[in-house]
Amino acid sequence: MVRSRHGWLRLPFWLTYLFLYAPIVVLVVMSFNRNKSPYTWGGFSLDWYGRLAENDSIRTGLVNTLIVAFGSTVLSTVLGTLLAVGLARHTRSRLLDALSTLPAILPDLVIAIGLLVFYSTIKLTLGLHSVLIAHTVFGMAFVTAVVRARLSGMDTSLEEASRDLGAAPLTTFVKITLPTLAPGIVAGALLAFTLSLDEFVIAFFTAAPSEPTLPIVIYSMVRFGVTPEINALATLLLAVSFTVVIVAQRLTRLTEALR
C-alpha cells in the first residue's frame, strides 16, 4: 500500500541515477578502448591499465589525495558536528549561522589565494598539512549545514529527560544526541570526503610543488587531452570504492548480528 503511493516518485529517482551514471559508463568503456580517441572503437584492450601501473606521479597523487581527504574529513566532521549542535542548542544568532556556512559560499580562488598569502606571511612551509587545513575549512561548513538540517526542529524531549534524570551534559551528548544525529553526520562526512577528494583549485595553491594531490596531477595532464589512461584510473577508483563500501556494509551487518 505504501509502495503505490510513491509510484510517481520512482521516475525522478531512477532518472537521477541514470543521469549520474551515464558519463561513468562512457568513461569505463573508454578505458578499455585500444584507440586513444573516444570516437572510434579500436578493440578491447588493457593497455591503459598497464600504463597506469607504471605512472609514478599518479600513484603519488592518489596517496596524497587519500591522506588529505581522510584527514580533513575527520577534522571537518568533528568540528562541524560540534558547531552544528552549538548553533542549534546554545545560540539564536543568525550571524553565527551565516558565519558557519561562509566557507561554502566563498569563491574557491579567494580561499586559495587568501590561504597561500596567509601561509607565506606566517612562514608556514607548504605540504599536505597546508592542503588538509584548507580542505577542513570548507568541509566543516558542509558538515555543519547538513547536521543542522537534521537538528532543526528535532524533538528535544529525550535530551531534556536525560538531563532531568541527572546525567552530565557530556553523557547526554554522547548517549542521546549523537546517535540521533548519526544519519546527518554520516551524510555530512560523506559530503566532506567527496568534496576533498576531487578538489583542484584550493589544493593547487596550498600544496607543495613536490607533493601534488591527484586532481592537480590530472588537471596538469589535460594539456594533451584526457587519455584512456586516466579513464582507467577513474574506473579503478570506482571499482575499489564500490568494493570497499560493499565490504563495509557486510561488516557492519555482521557486527550487528553478532551483538
Partner: protein, 364 residues
Amino acid sequence: MTRRAPVVVASVCLASALTACSGGGAATDSAPTALNASADLSKQSLTISIWDGYSPKDLPERVKAKLGFDTKVAIHDTNETIMAKLTAGGDSGIDVAFVSGQYAQALNAQGLLEPLHRDLIPNLKNLYPEASQLAYDKGNVFSVPYTWGTTGLCYRSDLVKTPPTSWKDLLEPAKDVKKKITMMTTERWLALPALKLLGASVNTTDQATIDKAKELLLKVKPDLLAYDDTTFGDRLKSGEAVMVEAWDGWCPTSEKNIKFVVPKEGSDLWADTMVILKSSKNKEAAHAFVNFILEPDNHGWVPANILYRIPNKAAMDKVDPKLLESYPTLAEPPSELLKGESLVDLGEASTAYTRLSTEVSAAQ
C-alpha cells in the same frame, strides 16, 4: 551575537597588520647574489615546475647521473596558475620555473627572479644569436628560452574547400567552415588574428585599435564552434572542427590530413623560457640545470619527441634529417620564425586585453 563582533574586528586588524608585513608583490633589490661556482652540488636539490609532457620522463635520472643532485618535477597546466602561485609571496618551493616569455618579464619586473650568472651557463653559446635578443628579455638577463614558435591556422586539408592563407579565412569564414572553427581563449592570442588582420602590432596598447579588434571578434563569434586553448587538436582529428587557431607545436601535423600555415599578415613569436626564482635555496644547482638543458643532446629531446622548435642552434643542427623531412615546420629556418613579433608584457595595458576577452566571451 555582540560577543562575536570583536572577533571579526580583531581578525581584520590582524589581517591588515599582516598585509603590511607580507609586502607581497613589491619590487625588491635585483642585484645578483654572490654564487659559488665550485659549490658541492650533491648537497643541493632542485624543484622545477613545467608543463606536463614538456620534458623527458627520465629527466631526474639524467640530471642525477650528470650533476649529482635530486630533481623533483612539479607540473602546472597554464602560465596563469603558476604565476599566481609564484607571486603570492614567500617561498613557493620552486627553484626553476618554465613560463612563457612575457610572463618571465612580469616576474622579473616584480623582483622575483634571480639575474642569471652567465659564467655558470657556458652553454648559452649554443643558442641562435637572435634567441638572445628577444624583446621580452634582451640579453637573456633573467630567462633562457626553452622552446619557441608561432601561432597560425591548423586545418584539415581534406575537409576545407580552399586551404587558408589569411587571418581573414578565420575571422570571415567561408560557408563550408562556419561552426567548425575555434579560436583561443587566452586574451593575447584571442586578439592576435584580429590585430594582425588590422595590420596592427600584437603588442599594441592603443585602445582604438583594440576596440576595432573587438568588433571583428564579436562579428565572428556566432560562426565559431567554441573557444578552445587545449583540445583543438582532438577536435581536428575527429572532424568536429576543420580549422583552428593553434600554436605550431600543438598542431598534430603527424596526422595525414592536418596542415599548419602562418597567415600572410604575419603572426607572433612566442617563447617558453626557464627562469630561476630569487627565493631559491639551490641557485648553483639551478644554474647547472639550465646549462645542462642547453646541451645539444638534452635539448634535442624536444624536437625529436614533441616536435617543438628550440632556439638551440647546436641541438637543431643535430636533428635527424628524416624528421625534418616529415615535419616541414621543424625544418623552417629561424629567420622565418623571427618574422613574427615577440610578445611582451603590456604592463597596465594588460587589463585592456582582459576586458576585451571578457566582452567577447560575455556577448550573447
